[in-house]
Symmetry: C2
Subunit: 178 residues, 2 copies
């Protein structure tokens, strides 16, 4: 059905860090999106696919991400930026590492900005065959206040999009957390 030379299916997966305090890992819904892609789509055919991991870092409006710290000099801000960047790299390293173990080719990169806008912009630029986004699966009431990246992407991204909802038994005590 496909020659050895046929191009791999390029799947972009938007990943972010957990918002749970003290949990320095990928968010629950990013994990869900990644695991679903491997289990349900890639399966035993890793060479048929290429995973493209995009992590969008959100610049803080006031520059203070961590209220427990005191920033008193330009160097502090530079350090903070470095730290953010290295956190993002750590996140991508995890996904690229797991893909490598399984034998699926992958690429990963970081952008800064509004996640929903940046994801749609990157879809236009790299033209994946499919975009996979995790979702907290919030109810309509919670959704009004937090907005959802996945809903925006389903509407506006220039490629097929699949949203993977977090399982109920994975919901943390505050469902807005992820």
């Amino acid at each position: 059905m496909e020659g050895a030379e046929s191009e791999a299916t390029r799947i972009m997966i938007a990943v972010n860090e957990s918002s749970i305090k003290g949990y320095p890992h990928a968010s629950i819904s990013s994990h869900g999106a990644f695991d679903w892609t491997l289990r349900k789509i890639v399966r035993s055919n890793p060479s048929g696919f290429k995973l493209l991991f995009l992590h969008v870092q959100v610049p803080d409006e006031d520059g203070f991400d961590d209220m427990d710290s005191i920033y008193a000099s330009p160097e502090d801000f530079r350090d903070m930026k470095h730290r953010d960047k290295s956190r993002g790299l750590h996140l991508l390293e995890y996904f690229v590492g797991r893909s490598h173990e399984i034998g699926v080719p992958s690429e990963a990169w970081i952008k800064r900005g509004d996640p929903k806008e940046v994801i749609c912009h990157e879809v236009k630029r790299v033209q994946p065959d499919l975009l996979v986004v995790g979702s907290r699966g919030l109810g309509p009431f919670q959704r009004v206040f937090v907005g959802t990246v996945s809903e925006f992407c389903v509407k506006h991204a220039d490629c097929p999009v699949v949203t993977i909802k977090r399982k109920e038994d994975e919901t943390p005590s505050d469902p807005v957390d992820d």
Copy 2:
């Protein structure tokens, strides 16, 4: 990555007939959804997947589907129902036949009712891993008047959903046609 005994990924594909007069085949967007699934997801791994084709027939509100005919007896209505049913079977036969050629296991069935409601109901019942629906890719103005099955399914279906938009060069002269 998967044992021989691991369960196949079950992909439900909602298919319908073309609305183009005199074109007795699958709609353009049904074709698009099916082809995308084969080319981008199934690829060279047919035994990893099972395709579930659902065709929903819409009962006419007044019972007159074909205004060129005259229905004058209960038998006429019965005949019409038979004819509708055989048209639907012909449609499914096409998709099952193509799947068989490629070696992907498949199943197909017909239901009657409002497509969006029936699709979501069948998703709940058969619990596929992914629902693929074609879409005409109508603009907001056209969408208001025709409604879209895909938007409803994305919101309400109880499984991940991917919408495959019709390509621009496949759009018939009336974009509401399919």
